[in-house]
């Protein structure tokens, strides 16, 4: 932002975009020699189109040279803030900072993707050494959810709002009031300009050619304006509004009840509460299917063990008093989630053939014969099991991860069955009072308590499949999609249409032709040549003056 004071009340101002602003003749407006008084900051006279600067170069046609709020002299804090957020330079800086931060965030895995149970303060230095330590200390391990990154995105959002208002208003005014410039300076300083000798009826012939090419015509004060593709000018604003809505749509998840993100593991045949909801889910069966050779388009490429599908057949219940009432059943597969009234269950974890329980042979040492077999779940052990022959086994204690403390008492280190141990009591014929015994994984119970009548021999493992379900509610999703649609719509409007304007004016025997577009000058030039050809007025491409943009 440069501000050159040339005299007490006259300023030559260059905006942050490097566009020279006109001299401001007093705070109340810029007076054009044609008599019209324009708002301060105006570049091109609203009435006659006369350029209001003393320059000779390409005329800046942005917003038709109309003034924007951010270009007026800031007076209050709000003005200063407005100016800050309305600056595209500032916006680009913020975008670049967000971009660089995002890149840094992908150098090492984010905490959520680190695939390790170690806490981050240990994981990063241990795995990546000093780099990891620094990365963690600076908070890059959780970058995208850090307050400053989110604040940055929000600031870009604010900038979007301010920028759009700052420019949409003058643009709207400028486009609504179609201007018919009369001043030759306006013509001469357009990027495409031609002055051609033309017959009397040239304008009439051009009018017909314009109509054939679907231009809209406006005429007055001796000037003809042909225009098309105006919709393109609104593209950026539609796009920006979409982006703001997108940010807001993502913020909907802050509303209680709008968003839920949880996870539950369910064994085959098991029913579990769905966290965060009043529902229960039963995993009736979890299937893993593999591709066979016949599935392979090219049999030579066949390798066994490539998974074709993970699917959980499930039933959803709601608790009604003590009973579970079925509300829905179905299947969830990868890419095809199960849905019930906005609750989604995603197939997102698979454990096949995991140890679920132990199968024990209950051995009567007196009779030297087996009484029967019992199954003990390591996750949800039963209270009592029937062992057969009138014997019942009661589970008195269960230690999934057995340890002994200093006083010699058993306790469980964790809920994970790393070293499962049971205290069992058997009752039945001959042991009416019951007989207690220890069962510790991997240890023969005889070695601990050899005097007991019964012993438990490991007869097998109960292996089962376990399905991991992501639990999601995201009521903001439709809003996210709608906002995205607006973003894309705006982009297509802006980039697949071009606003083309052609001004024609007769000055004596000469036709002044000027043309402007927001993109695709090459196409506009071709269109001009084509139009003139169709009107029977040869216009050589070389006769069109094209002001260079680049050096």
């Amino acid at each position: 932002m440069k501000l050159n004071v040339t005299s007490d009340r006259m300023q030559l101002n260059v905006t942050s975009e490097g566009i020279p602003l006109t001299e401001r003749r007093g705070l109340d407006g810029v007076k054009c020699p044609c008599g019209h008084v324009n708002p301060p900051g105006t570049l091109i006279c609203e009435a006659c189109g006369r350029p209001l600067d003393d320059d000779d170069g390409l005329l800046n046609m942005r917003y038709e040279g109309a003034a924007r709020r951010s270009q007026q002299k800031p007076r209050t804090i709000v003005d200063h803030l407005w100016r800050f957020f309305a600056s595209v330079k500032v916006a680009v800086w913020m975008i670049v900072i967000a971009l660089i931060a995002s890149i840094i965030g992908t150098i090492l895995p984010q905490e959520q993707f680190k695939q390790s149970s170690l806490p981050p303060e240990i994981f990063y230095p241990q795995t990546y050494g000093l780099i990891g330590e620094i990365y963690y200390r600076l908070g890059f391990h959780n970058l995208y959810y850090s307050w400053w990154f989110i604040a940055l995105l929000l600031m870009i959002g604010i900038s979007l709002v301010v920028c759009s208002i700052d420019r949409a208003v003058p643009l709207y005014k400028a486009l609504k009031k179609k201007r018919l410039p009369t001043d030759p300076g306006f013509f001469r300083r357009q990027r495409l300009f031609a002055a051609v000798e033309a017959p009397e009826d040239a304008v009439d012939r051009l009018r017909a050619a314009f109509a054939r090419r679907r231009f809209q015509l406006t005429e007055g004060k001796g000037t003809l304006l042909a225009e098309k593709g105006r919709i393109s000018r609104w593209g950026p604003y539609v796009n920006h509004v979409g982006l703001i809505l997108l940010i807001l749509a993502f913020m909907l998840r802050l509303i209680p009840g709008f968003y839920l993100d949880d996870y539950v593991w369910v064994w085959d045949g098991e029913t579990r509460a769905v966290p965060g909801t009043p529902y229960y889910v039963k995993n009736e069966r979890f299937d893993v299917t593999f591709y066979t050779e016949a599935d392979f388009p090219d049999p030579k490429a066949f390798r066994p063990g490539i998974v074709k599908e993970y699917a959980t057949h499930l039933v959803l219940y709601r608790k009604d008093g003590d009973r579970l009432v079925e509300v829905a059943r179905g299947t969830t597969r990868v890419n095809h989630p199960f849905e019930y009234e906005g609750l989604y269950l995603y197939q997102s974890g698979e454990q096949v053939g995991e140890l679920y329980g132990l199968v024990l042979d209950v051995w009567d040492k007196q009779k030297n014969a087996s009484v029967g077999q019992i199954h003990l779940s390591l996750y949800d052990p039963p209270e009592v099991v029937d062992a057969g022959g009138g014997y019942r086994v009661r589970v008195l204690e269960y230690y999934p991860d057995l340890r002994i403390n200093e006083k010699g008492e058993p306790y469980s280190e964790s809920p994970r069955p790393n070293r499962p141990a049971f205290i069992l009591e058997i009752t039945g014929p001959g042991v009416e009072a019951g007989e207690k015994n220890w069962v510790i994984a991997g240890v023969d119970s005889d070695t601990i308590l050899p005097d007991k009548r019964f012993k438990y021999k490991l007869a097998g493992f109960d292996l089962r499949n376990r399905s991991g379900l992501s639990v999601r509610i995201d009521r903001g999703l439709p809003a996210v999609y709608a906002a995205s649609a607006i973003v894309v719509l705006g982009l297509f409007m802006g980039f697949y249409f071009q606003h083309r304007r052609i001004w024609i004016r007769r000055e004596g025997g000469t036709l002044l032709v000027a043309a402007h577009t927001n993109k695709n000058w090459f196409g506009l030039k071709k269109e001009l040549v084509g139009l003139f050809r169709e009107a029977g007025l040869p216009l050589d491409e070389a006769a069109i003056e094209q002001r260079r943009k680049t050096r």
């Binding site: 670049v96 959520q112 090219d298 890419n335 802006g494």
Partner: protein
């Protein structure tokens, strides 16, 4: 099905050959000007330019046949692994070229764009070309929609890159050394490194070169083997060479580079850069001046309108941006919501799509509102495509994420 796949491979080969021929024709449309031909240089350039266009168009139709046959043959859109994706990207680059060339028919654009497709197809063929059925994570029609649309946008960015590079080769002053001339040389060196990688891969594969390394994984005690098909300069961290004889590796991969085959990838990367350096050195010795300077002298004959090249580069990006946004962000969000239960999760691949998108947004604003035209804009167009390729190559192969094609 097998016959379909064989026909598909044949079609791709023909397409590849035609792209090469097209490049040569575009080459003649420029250099041939100096030769005396009927009708003078302008007519000559136009004639060869049109022939080139026709050949490339036919080549593209063959590649279209490849896409269709491979789709039918494998039962899914050919965008599911690196080979399929990279060749599809080449397909989009040529499509974008065919469209942009209709808007701005300058032969030089063909000379710079079509080779991008040639390199991409060659690069694609480095990876396994076998057709395999889709793993569950990819079984969604959003895969087709998301990947193809994103690739189409990236194809347009590639044309923006080619035009940007063209602009720089002409516009950067080569009469004295500067930061800009150094950057031009760096870009050429990077391109040569990619070429070196492709050439080496095929050469050593043809020779059946193989070096096996073994290492004991500390946590599990299990043995892990890695097979190098390129000469082993750098061995995997903590591994021992098993293959007898041959070169002993000089270095070891640093410990923090983890993930599948980190050592091999790092070795390949370093070798490619070395190969690129050798190629660059040889060319430079032959040219006896900066390659950029030599190319510039040679392009002088083409008599380019720089304003027009600037506009082409911008226009290609402007055409690509909405498509890229739709494919790489919007469709990606829809698919992610369906597959993983969240529209956005900052997985490395997603993040890089976001980075690419932010970059081009910055490009557009700098151009439109801050007035960056010409060289500045061209540098950004080049850098933008470097980011696109970083996403496709580095992130896919090096960083592990949900998307890794392994």
């Amino acid at each position: 099905m097998t016959s379909m796949l064989q026909m598909a491979s044949a079609a791709l080969l023909v397409a590849f050959a035609l792209y090469v021929v097209g490049t040569v024709l575009y080459f003649f449309s420029i250099t041939g000007r100096m030769m005396r031909g009927a009708g003078g240089p302008v007519v000559h350039a136009r004639r060869f330019g049109e022939r080139g266009y026709l050949v490339v168009l036919v080549g593209w139709l063959f590649q279209l046949a490849f896409v269709v046959l491979r789709w039918i043959g494998s039962g899914h859109a050919p965008t599911s692994n690196m080979f399929e994706f990279m060749s599809f990207l080449a397909f989009s680059v040529v499509l974008a070229f065919l469209v942009v060339y209709r808007l701005y028919p300058i032969a030089l654009l063909g000379l710079f764009t079509v080779p991008v497709a040639v390199v991409l197809i060659a690069y694609a063929s480095v990876f396994s070309t076998q057709a395999t059925p889709l793993i569950p994570a990819l079984q969604s029609y959003w895969l087709y929609i998301h990947v193809t649309v994103a690739a189409l946008g990236e194809g347009a960015f590639a044309v923006g890159f080619a035009a940007g590079l063209m602009y720089l080769l002409v516009a950067v002053r080569q009469d004295r050394r500067s930061l800009e001339t150094a950057l031009v040389e760096t870009v050429l060196w990077a391109i040569l490194s990619l070429v070196a990688f492709i050439v080496m891969t095929f050469a050593f594969r043809a020779a059946g070169h193989e070096v096996v390394f073994e290492r004991v994984v500390p946590d599990t005690g299990m043995k892990e083997t890695t097979v190098y098909t390129l000469p082993a300069l750098i061995k995997p961290h903590g591994a021992e060479k098993v293959t007898p004889g041959g070169l002993e590796p000089l270095f070891e991969t640093p410990a923090w580079m983890r993930g599948v085959n980190a050592g091999r990838k790092f070795n390949t990367f370093v070798l490619s850069l070395l190969g690129g350096t050798v190629l660059y050195g040889l060319l430079r010795l032959a040219a006896r001046e900066r390659l950029g300077k030599r190319i510039q002298a040679w392009l002088q004959g083409a008599d380019l309108d720089l304003d027009l090249v600037d506009e082409i580069s911008y226009r290609a990006i402007a055409i690509g941006f909405p498509i890229f946004t739709l494919g790489a962000l919007v469709f990606a969000m829809i698919w992610a919501a369906e597959a993983w239960g969240r529209p956005w999760g900052w997985d490395p691949k997603e993040t890089w799509a976001f980075i690419t998108w932010l970059f081009y947004a910055a490009y557009l604003h700098l151009r439109l509102s801050v007035g960056w035209h010409g060289k500045k804009s061209a540098w950004l167009a080049v850098l933008g495509f470097v980011i696109v390729m970083t996403n496709l190559v580095v992130i896919n192969l090096v960083l592990v994420g949900l998307h890794s094609y392994a």
